[in-house]
Symmetry: C2
Amino acid sequence: MSTVTFSPLYRQIRDRLVHSLQAGEWRPGEAIPSEIDLAARYGVSQGTVRKAIDALSAENLLVRRQGRGTFVASHQEARAQIRFLRLRPDDGGEPRQPSSRFLECRRLRAPLEIARALEMKAGDAAVTIRRLLEFDGEPIVLEEIWLPGSTFRGLTAERLNAYSGPLYALLETEFGTRMIRASERLRAVAAGEAEARALGVATGEPLLLVDRVSSTYGDKPVEVRRGWYRTHHHHYFNELS
Amino acid sequence: MSTVTFSPLYRQIRDRLVHSLQAGEWRPGEAIPSEIDLAARYGVSQGTVRKAIDALSAENLLVRRQGRGTFVASHQEARAQIRFLRLRPDDGGEPRQPSSRFLECRRLRAPLEIARALEMKAGDAAVTIRRLLEFDGEPIVLEEIWLPGSTFRGLTAERLNAYSGPLYALLETEFGTRMIRASERLRAVAAGEAEARALGVATGEPLLLVDRVSSTYGDKPVEVRRGWYRTHHHHYFNELS
DNA sequence: TAGTGGTCTAGACCACCGT
DNA sequence: CGGTGGTCTAGACCACTAA
């Protein structure tokens, strides 16, 4: 009585490619084998490999570059960074990358709520980071980040301060964990004392509260993040299509 | 010295299909001709038509249904309605469709800012609507909507009140204008007196301010909308992928 | 110029839907 | 059952990149 799950060939190839990506057979930024090579490897036609790669390209796991090859997507690229930070200045200028100031990085036991979101047991090791994102030297976003402690064992305050690029790029290159997608829930809230102090606004000021859960291959959640956004001169941009 | 714009066949077919949609050759909800018929009509192979339809399907202009045909997307469908209202109850239940209570519907001259967003001249005829969206009888969203008066000539308060479905469905069936995509800018603001009164909250309460510009075929903007969202028990959901 | 991805075709066959 | 979209193939050729 179970539903027969028909899976087309290109879908199976797609899944095998994802497994290879997950296993680190090709690293972020590197090229994967050519379509013809992959077709030979899997014993299918080039067209079928092509359709599999099309799917992964649409999912932003791979990036095609005509005449050069197909590459593993990376958070080092500007495009990936924009995808994961939707805040833009009101004056529509180039979305300059913010600089981050780390306020705290501690290892402790995961509270129940965090543990549940990360699919681990309450009390398991976790890392928490607090940081401030500054645009043109002005603090705009306060963030509190939670990661599973086991997979990010060497993540310390020194490591964070020694690095200047986007956080996801560091997690990707240093810890082999690539954030694939995230879902966010937005609310308007009044600034509490801590948020107000960090962002330099009055207590009670309206802030945009952004709760995010990010996941890696196989939709496994590996980060929980709460951000307080000051939206006086910035806005959260979203495209409905 | 101009860049040569190479346009593949499937892209040209895509554009011709869009023109047919725009001209109303097939109405929302109706089936378009089969791939084989279209291939014959345009003198290309079925595979090329297929790729064109794939693109339009990804853009949510068409909907494929295996074994039945390919249909013109419509705002009557539940899927379209969800795409254009990202507010969900916190308790993750089924996103019930809100009921809307119309507060006002007036015809007047477009203010400068509205005119610019709608690509018309300041002073041109416009329609403005104010309404309240209620979830389970509770007012959650206050909206102020602006439309070009010329294309929505028969839009009146009576017409709105006589209709119960989603607004875009009415605009689509009664006025032949289909909203294709929209871009939104979100901010956190303090409730002014008018918003507070309409939503039944205290003045100064944090609200999620959502500014939207929607467009129809050819990215022509045809609606400007400002919404004040009460996010005590609801949140704006967004998927980063 | 060699190698990559991108396009286009023709044809065979499969999965699904309604009658 | 006939008609629709969905898959897969093999092969030819085009567009782009780098050396």
